[in-house]
Point group: C2
Chain length 552, copies 2
């Protein structure tokens, strides 16, 4: 009869969970030992738990199913928390396995003893369980798996005491098939159809599953047939895009812009998305961004099948045989001369291969990324769903493991890259096809913007030095080399293009450090042209309004 860890391992692989992103310690050694007899489980070691959890998130987004993590007690969970938060906000399914002291050891309050459950509740509000007996471990695991891969997907945390893991008498469990999620009911579809058929201005706000091909095509039909505008949530977990798919404008990060995007609509229809709110609160500014005059409808909640709901809505509107307007192919052209963040985005749009996975954690430097890649060949884009930086490099690991035949391009700000730089080591160890481009502007640039937005614009040198990471300037090419990743530092467009062409033609990981100036040196001085460029469809009166709002 297997021990607990061995039975758990079998339960996981029988349920199709085939990758475990790990950083184990002593209390997890029996789970580690159980790897030997389970060829179907791939164990990917990370040198920091935030890498493991971010990789599991990226994997889930691209594989469409959960991976496991293996973390060491409350502290290991804490180290992984920020990327678990991003996973929670992105509704990624994941099975967190957190080793704990043996049940009888807890009372001695040894050095690593802490309240694991209280930490776990932050990211697993609906499923935290400390398994108490070897005989029940696999039942607990099966319930965790069921919770994780339901709709919405979630992070389920299973706490595994060492004696439950090493105890004899483990029994693997079969995890029941997920029940299909319900579709929007007919009365909802009817009332939304009415709103769309009225002569009011209407928009669909797509999130979650609705941003995948089938959802986009159904929404594209409705848009083409009925003149409905399509928006995507600000930070999609995964959005399919590029030539041949309907183009969808993302709601802006800046509340001022988002308000304008929404300002002319009478009906906003949510499809697996939330009504837009400001990322942060600002003194004297509204948090809720939908205008009072706009009626908000929910076509499908996060528990419902967004694609089926959109398909039924299209049918109800008689739009199911309409041809959606599809993005036409187009590359932005090769950039030239001294680098800027915009030119890096241009180079990406110019060179990214078909079927790329773009991991976007470029923060301010990526402001032009969407525009520059709109007509690129079909690709997926993964974004920072929960705002906890340090997601990009780990997420790229998971995406590359989920899709080994697809090139992964990770576009990462310098501040965020440092958070989880240990991800580079795992990329080298696993020889993953990742090209990481680091925008090195030596600044927490977004905070310079935010400092002004919160009304603290008179900040002096001491305050501003808290946003300045130029003393010293990190050398990311050296950093990559120190962990066995091919690293190059580029300062011109020509060097960048050459480095990208090389890295995209060679297997294994590459890091390209792009030395760029800050995109946004202060809201009032330079942000406006960027904002206007990123919203090409904004009517002229609104452009003027934006200008007045941002830089009166």
């Amino acid at each position: 009869m297997p021990n607990g860890a061995q039975a758990l391992m079998k339960t996981l692989v029988d349920a199709g969970i085939e990758v475990c992103f790990s950083n184990p310690g002593t209390s997890e050694m029996h789970f580690v030992a159980a790897l030997d007899n389970e060829p179907k489980m791939r164990a990917v070691l990370a040198l920091f738990e935030g890498v493991a959890t971010g990789a599991a998130d990226g994997y889930a987004r691209m594989a469409g199913k959960p991976a496991a993590t293996l973390l060491h007690l409350g502290c290991g969970l804490g180290n992984g928390l920020a990327n678990l938060h991003n996973a929670r906000k992105g509704k990624s399914p994941m099975i967190n396995i957190v080793g704990d002291h043996a049940t009888y050891h807890v009372k001695y309050d040894a050095q690593l003893q802490s309240d694991i459950e209280t930490v776990a509740r932050n990211v697993s509000p609906n499923f935290v369980r400390t398994s108490q007996r070897t005989e029940e471990l696999c039942k607990d695991a099966a319930e965790a798996i069921t919770a994780a891969r339901g709709l919405p997907g979630q992070v389920a945390t299973l706490i595994l005491p060492a004696d439950v893991s090493w105890g004899e008498g483990g029994q693997a469990c079969t995890v029941p098939e997920q029940k299909p999620a319900p579709c929007a009911d007919s009365s909802t579809i009817e009332s939304i159809s009415e709103a769309i058929n009225s002569d009011k201005k209407t928009a669909l706000l797509l999130g979650g599953q609705a941003l995948r091909e089938a959802g986009l095509l159904a929404a594209g039909k409705i848009a083409a047939a009925k003149g409905v505008t399509l928006f995507a949530e600000t930070f999609p977990s995964r959005i399919e895009r590029g030539a041949g798919l309907p183009a969808v404008e993302r709601i802006a990060y800046l509340a001022e812009m988002a308000s304008l995007q929404l300002s002319e609509f009478d009906h906003l229809i949510l499809v697996d998305a939330k009504a837009p709110v400001s990322f942060f609160a600002y003194p004297g500014k509204q948090s809720y961004l939908v205008p009072d005059s706009c009626t908000v409808h929910t076509l499908s909640s996060e528990e419902q099948d967004a694609i089926a709901s959109l398909t039924q809505l299209a049918e109800s509107l008689g739009a199911d045989s309409t041809q959606a307007i599809l993005q036409s192919p187009g590359r932005p052209g090769r950039p030239k001369g001294k680098l800027s963040a915009e030119k890096v985005c241009r180079a990406v749009g110019e060179l990214m291969p078909e079927n790329s996975i773009i991991v976007d954690e470029s923060i301010t430097s990526g402001l032009m990324l969407n525009a520059m890649t709109a007509g690129a060949p079909r690709h997926d884009m993964i974004t920072l769903t929960g705002g906890a930086i340090g997601q990009g490099l780990p997420s790229a690991i998971g995406a590359a493991i989920a899709c080994p035949d697809r090139p992964v391009l990770a576009l990462i700000g310098d501040g965020t890259a440092m958070y989880t730089n240990q991800a580079l080591w795992t990329m080298a160890r696993e020889n993953l096809n990742v090209t990481a481009i680091i925008f090195n502007n030596a600044s927490y640039s977004v905070l310079n913007v935010e400092l002004e937005r919160v009304g603290a614009e008179e900040a002096g040198e001491k305050a501003k030095s808290q946003l300045d990471i130029s003393r010293p300037v990190t050398n990311f090419a050296l950093l990559a080399q120190s962990m066995g990743v091919h690293g190059t530092r580029v300062q011109t467009s020509e060097e960048l293009l050459k480095a990208m062409e090389y890295s995209l033609s060679q297997p294994g990981p590459h890091l390209i450090e792009a030395v760029v100036p800050e995109s946004l040196n202060g809201v009032k001085r330079k942000i406006l042209p960027y904002l206007l460029k990123s919203m090409p469809n904004l009517p002229a009166p609104l452009s003027k309004a934006l200008k007045n709002k941002i830089a009166p």
Copy 2:
């Protein structure tokens, strides 16, 4: 009238809190702005929150008073959690300031919204407060400061909503002086005196404050007058040691050894220390390490004044004018030839200057560190109190800021160094006098030992690869250079000595990567000679017993 952040800043500096280790985001911008008008507050930026919290811990240990941290919402707190755990276990005082969304913004569940309090309870079980009004902020802060710097010291977490921070009407508060902690009562001192005066074998187990000079000297008098053995807890927060102080043997990490250390005693007297328990549980082995036949007494709990209690005990025993036996000076001699972990420890013992601060997170590689530095000039040693790795490099930052005139030597395992490698950047930015020596054995070496100890010794290649960090081998010298720190890689004793002599003579941070083989290749094969060397006072029958326990 100041805003909340400005009043908070004044409350902190008026209470003597003069350093803030920070990684701010938008919700903390008003606190950042308030730095401009408060010259007494030094703000030290970290590129990752685990660096900020570990630095605040190291600072508290050496300054004897709290620093503040500035963290960004629940995710920033999560990133800092592991080193907050180490601080909690080390009873370090600290004021965690965790920015939060504006109170009215919480209900919108924006991207970074999460339950901060539930995370904070893990490390601040006795003081977590979300300040609700600007007018009350400084009162909340004063209570946090009072909680933090009581006995035992603790991590107090003050959650600061953005609108409470930016609101007008802040009023700085004066924090009351701490009440002096009580001494052990006379009946306790009497009964412990009786035990010591009996002809039974007695040991004092010193922890916390008792390991500082005054405590050691009082305990040394008792030891000299009454033949009492002195032990120190396994992982002291800070221990003063070296030539001229009483030498104290630390309780071993390995439960098998610790049991033997304690096996012959009839009375164990705890002084701000816990009765020893095993770090982890192991199948079939006891967690509680004090033999059944030994009576455990508590001279002073963590709420009491350990030094006053020891002094009174010495008086009660008539030992107050006895001369303690002091460690005589002695250096171990310069190592020669190919490096080993033991030779690195020897070089440290040979070259460390008087008044050094040794930060020890060397895990298996430091097994000989205590022996090699026992007769070195007076110094302090800081250890990994909570078992959450990644403490050493951040802690070195805090120690160097607390004691700018003292050299800091940080001895760090490769696995642990990677956890919080971003600390190197802050060392460069602040030009701190830290020499970091990284033991690069390309392995989670302690886990190879633990894999055998938990009974999983038949582990195959797949399991063992989870403990192997040699593909690729990290180049720590390059890693240091990438963050502006002078970095050298050494493979011989002579190279190491030269690099150490250089780094100790030059200001600013230096990293020396010492390429060493694993100290312990399997419990049964090689650990025993090390264990015996590290316990020179073990009587022969016990050495034999140890041999039988570990490698029968």
